[in-house]
Amino acid sequence: MAFVGRAPLDETEKALIGKIGLLASVQCAYLPPLLAQCRVAGVPAGTLLYDQDAVAEGVFVVLAGQVGLLLGVDGGRRCLIEILGPGRLFGEGGLFDTGRYPSAAQAITAARIAIIPLAPLLAAIGECATLRQRMLAYLSGRLRLLVGQIAQLKLMSAAQRLAAFLLSQAEPDRQGGLVHLQCERRVIAGMLGMTPESLSRAFRHLHGLQVSSPDRNTVVIADLSRLRRYVATDPEILEIPPAAEPLPASGFGRKCATGAAG
């Protein structure tokens, strides 16, 4: 595997991982030794954390930076499925069934990543009923999000999908919001299921909704609620609360990594 966590977690990182939905307020004797076995590493942008169909060695948590999940498609190309920020768990698809990761994971920006190793995690799931239920909640929540993503791709226009993506990434500021795009527009286009040309058209379309882009990496949304109405939905339903995995309340900055990839 390309990713090998080196250092054990420090106390701050342990506290942060303890707050992710899967583990938050789980009272079981198996948790402290599990956290003691977690490892953490900083990786440069572009690092392949694991490949699709690689034998799973654990689950991961983004501590800082952004990670992309990629699926190989025809002709050896890869399609970006999702961008994950701090506090997000990934790799859980490798824990069960075939024991292999269903997609690849790659650092989009420089990132700090923790790995929860497979064997002790599975042992804890086997012993702790609360953790079992949390894992079922997390996996069910993931399915709901994927179903929602498919519905968006099916039903929303390119401009609406872009608006939904920008809303999901925006840092609120009074009635507006600011988005720092940390990867190339070409990559964002792929993730939203459109060509770079369609993405440019979608951005132009959103100008009419007071969405502006002072430079290539920044997007300013002047009126968040107007944009929400445009995607015809309330903000919370764009991401039906997975319940199992809220972002930690504090501790992770959104702008943790610099230097867009590529």
Partner: protein
């Protein structure tokens, strides 16, 4: 208890293919189905409201269920239609314990309703059973990730080409077939509006696809297959991995 809970064999098969039960054997499945009961809604019925206690979950046996929220402006916004063979409310049941959305049915719908308490008890008492449900959910996750990628990478006309190729029995040369569904159903399957379907059909004419009513002919299956796999919207976030 015979484990059928009043379900027909076909309905039990549907439940077995649902996301939570995919990897279970017949015996485990029967014991879980036996926890529940079928519910028939003859007409419009509210199943639960946002914020209700998530003390049960459902598998759709026939008809369909609408999951929706009510916006601050009082407008209903549909999140998802749940079709037969799919379950809902299980994430809330395992998770927060509160329903995050509203659910209702518009026309006749038959559901299997399974209460949360005995489900949770089985998961607490039987790690093996819980593991099988995790296997099931992960297998479904894999399937959905593939579907997401297909939508992102393929244009509507490529998705239509893929749907037509799935109906052919030959892998090269000419092929003709009878469309086993209505155009509206085909549009929903491909994930486009009926108008976009017409445009996609028109576009496929250039790659040798002729559609006359429900009769479809493909001049060269190999050429259509190559069209289907052509580039649309792929990208690596940081170039090729090191």
């Amino acid at each position: 208890m015979d484990g059928t809970a009043g379900l027909t064999p076909a309905e039990r098969l549907l439940v077995r293919q649902s996301p939570l039960f995919f990897a279970l054997d017949a015996e485990d499945l029967a014991s879980l189905i036996a926890l529940g009961r079928p519910i028939d809604c003859a007409g419009p019925t509210l199943l639960f409201s946002q914020g209700d206690q998530a003390d049960r979950f459902y598998v759709v046996l026939a008809g369909r269920v609408r999951l929706f929220i009510v916006t601050a402006q009082g407008r209903e916004s549909v999140i998802e239609f749940v079709e037969p063979g799919l379950s809902f409310a299980e994430a809330a049941m395992f998770g927060t314990g509160r329903m995050p959305v509203n659910a209702d049915v518009v026309a006749h719908t038959r559901l299997l309703q399974i209460p949360a308490a005995p489900m949770r008890a089985r998961i607490a008492a039987e790690p093996r059973l819980a593991r099988l449900m995790m296997d099931s959910l992960v297998r479904w996750q894999r399937r959905l990730i593939g579907r997401v990628a297909e939508f992102k990478v393929r244009s509507p006309s490529q998705r239509l080409a893929a749907a037509l190729l799935a109906l052919t029995v030959v892998s090269k040369g000419p092929a003709s077939m009878h469309l086993p569904m209505s155009k509206t159903e085909l549009a929903a399957h491909v994930g486009v509006t009926p108008e976009s379907l017409s445009r996609a059909i028109a576009r496929l004419r250039r790659v040798g696809v002729a559609v006359r009513g429900a009769e479809i002919s493909i001049a060269d299956v190999g050429a259509l297959s190559r069209y289907c796999d052509g580039a649309a919207g792929t990208a690596d976030p940081a170039g090729p991995p090191p």
